[in-house]
């Protein structure tokens, strides 16, 4: 085991008007592992993601990043502390080009974004790195395309590129392969296995073959609670999981 937990939650809870979407979740994500969150729809995976990244304040519980209490911090602070995320529903700047997305992401850790009296040409300092990242996710040819003109799979790739541009310690990917064709799925799996070096990846994923190929640890959520946690092979064989979810999903593949 790569050892210590870099991201952990204790008793994490979130209520939505009487509905408890996340219910006392304890989670320990070990550093430099790939940790998958699976579970049926409505199990609270995306809510958990939003809690971990500050997009939702928890109703109860505590979140620690690298031993530091980050409970209730706003998303931009969590991001600056080294947690980058992608969104389940592609979330880009429709009118900006792919390269501009990556440049904005690269710029965010500097103070350059505040320089309203300087020329935007200063952002050229990020051009080379942006080109590298776009090349990495297979978008080199589409660097100038406005995001809204990209095909779905390409948008997902761009999401990944801008998350990587933040050079995060922890990368949270919300269904990185959702809606992708087989070829794109393979490419994404390959990409994640490349970029995981030196990083921690937490991913929500429905595609069990993707989970099997990438994840060191799998946490199964059901109705906002942790049902089972362990290595993929073990979780997959667990009776409760088969009943709850995995059996049906596996049979479908």
């Amino acid at each position: 085991m790569a050892g210590q937990a870099i991201l952990s939650a204790r008793g994490l809870t979130r209520d939505f008007r009487g509905f408890r979407a996340v219910d006392g979740v304890d989670l320990d994500v070990a550093a430099e592992t790939v940790h998958a969150l699976v579970g049926p729809n409505g199990a609270g995976k995306t809510t958990l993601f939003n809690l971990l990244t500050g997009f939702l304040p928890p109703s109860g519980g505590r979140i620690e990043l690298d031993g530091r209490d980050v409970t209730g911090l706003p998303p931009e602070r969590v991001a600056r502390l080294g947690v980058a995320r992608s969104f389940q529903i592609t979330s880009l700047f429709p009118q900006l080009g792919a390269r501009e997305h990556v440049e904005l992401a690269l710029q965010s850790s500097s103070g350059l974004g505040w320089r309203f009296w300087r020329s935007a040409k200063l952002m050229r300092r990020y051009r080379e790195r942006a080109a590298e990242l776009l090349d990495m996710v297979g978008l080199a040819d589409l660097a100038e395309a406005p995001a809204e003109a990209l095909a779905y799979g390409r948008k997902r790739a761009l999401e990944l590129a801008i998350a990587l541009a933040l050079d995060p310690k922890v990368l949270l990917l919300d269904e990185p392969t959702a809606g992708m064709g087989l070829e794109d799925v393979d490419r994404t799996v390959e990409l994640i296995s490349t970029v995981r070096t030196g990083r921690t990846v937490v991913m929500v994923e429905h595609n069990m073959s993707v989970v099997g190929r990438l994840a060191d640890t799998v946490t199964v959520l059901q109705a906002g609670k942790v049902l089972v946690e362990g290595p993929y092979e073990q979780v997959r064989a667990d009776e409760r999981v088969i009943t709850a979810y995995l059996g049906a999903a596996d049979a479908a593949h």
């Binding site: 998303p75 710029q107 309203f116 020329s119 200063l122």
Partner: protein, 353 residues
């Protein structure tokens, strides 16, 4: 700017480029399409446009009543300040009269009591407006959409009532009279010469707006406008960026309002009235949201039209400007500048194919 030209090649050839304008129309303000149409034009076109603009600005008081030309300059700054928020940050301020008017009063008071040269008084007014924008913006930027508009309107109304009640300072309904145009002994009583005295200040203000839009900060603003959640996930403190944009916008609005006060040598409560905020938004929408120069064009047209209507003794000016506003919104959603830029761009794209 050159950067834009470079990238244009790749973008024009993109599939889906034409479909884009349709979605842009309904969803986000058509900012980039308008802005880029000019920005991606060849360098000589942009310089030619700039030269024409400057020539028109230099000629203006010869073709119009100088007093009207002065008003156009002031309103151009005001419109651009509103567009900075509306077109480039995605915030619709319906209370910008608070900054225009506060600066008008401050400028008037400083000019009357301190006897400073008018640019110093205007600067003091604009700084005062920016200072006022800080608390108002702080509270407003936490809201979005119509709620942001309502909060700004509410604060502007508060400022209006304070000015109305605080007669010892603002002279209430009588207004501040006799705002001097002091400028190192130069005689600027003639509006014709006053126009040329304020032109450099206005151009400086317009340049500042252009610089802000085309700065790294401006890029972040556009990102925030299009997808604030994503901007936050990238680590950008969205509220603070919006607040900074709001204060900068308040300063520019104040610059216009201060010049307006000196231009009229008189400040009345009208400068703080909500209809003044509304007119600023109308001017921007007419000219083209997110085009920057559209606001200048809109200001010229609206101010000229209103002057013409009132000169011909027409009472219901609002009926005409309102009617035109509705027509433009229905027929040319990109506004005047935005529509022209869009047509030019389409022609340019067609020629290349």
């Amino acid at each position: 700017m050159t950067e834009r030209t470079e990238r244009s090649e790749g973008r024009e050839g993109m599939p889906g480029q034409h479909g884009m304008s349709a979605t842009v129309d309904t969803k986000a303000p058509p900012a980039r399409s308008g802005l880029l149409a000019v920005a991606r034009a060849p360098g000589w076109v942009r310089y030619a446009l700039l030269a024409v603009g400057l020539l028109v600005a230099l000629w203006l008081p010869n073709g119009l009543y100088p007093a009207v030309a002065v008003d156009i300059l002031c309103w151009a700054l005001f419109a651009v300040s509103v567009d900075l928020l509306l077109g480039f940050t995605g915030l619709m301020s319906f209370g910008h009269a608070a900054f225009w008017g506060t600066s008008a009063y401050l400028t008037g008071l400083v000019a009357i009591h301190a006897g400073l040269p008018f640019p110093a008084a205007v600067l003091a007014g604009a700084l005062g407006a920016a200072l006022l924008a800080l608390p108002i913006g702080y509270l407003a930027v936490k809201r979005t959409g119509i709620y942001f508009a309502m909060v700004t309107l509410a604060f502007a109304q508060m400022v209006y009532y304070v000015a109305n009640e605080w007669r010892s300072v603002t002279q209430g309904e009588n207004g501040l009279q006799g705002v001097p145009r002091a400028f190192f002994g130069a005689d600027l009583t003639d509006d014709y010469y006053f126009y040329y005295a304020i032109l450099p200040i206005v151009l400086l203000g317009l340049f500042a707006a252009w610089r802000i839009v085309h700065s790294p900060f401006g890029r972040v603003l556009v990102g925030i406008r299009d997808n604030p959640a994503r901007a936050r996930a990238l680590g950008y403190p969205v509220h603070r960026y919006k607040l900074t944009a709001f204060v900068l916008s308040g300063f520019l609005a104040g610059l216009g309002g201060g010049l307006f006060a000196v231009g009229h040598r008189f400040v009345s409560l009208d400068v703080l009235h909500w209809t003044t905020s509304g007119k600023a938004v109308i001017v921007v929408v007419l000219g083209g949201i997110g085009t920057l120069w559209g606001g200048v064009l809109g200001a010229a047209l609206v101010v000229r039209l209103e002057d013409w209507l009132s000169f011909s003794g027409f009472e219901a000016i609002g009926l005409v400007t309102g009617g035109i506003f509705v027509l433009v919104v229905l027929l040319f959603r990109r506004g005047l500048w935005g529509t022209v830029a869009h047509l030019l761009r389409r022609r340019g794209a067609a020629r290349r194919e």
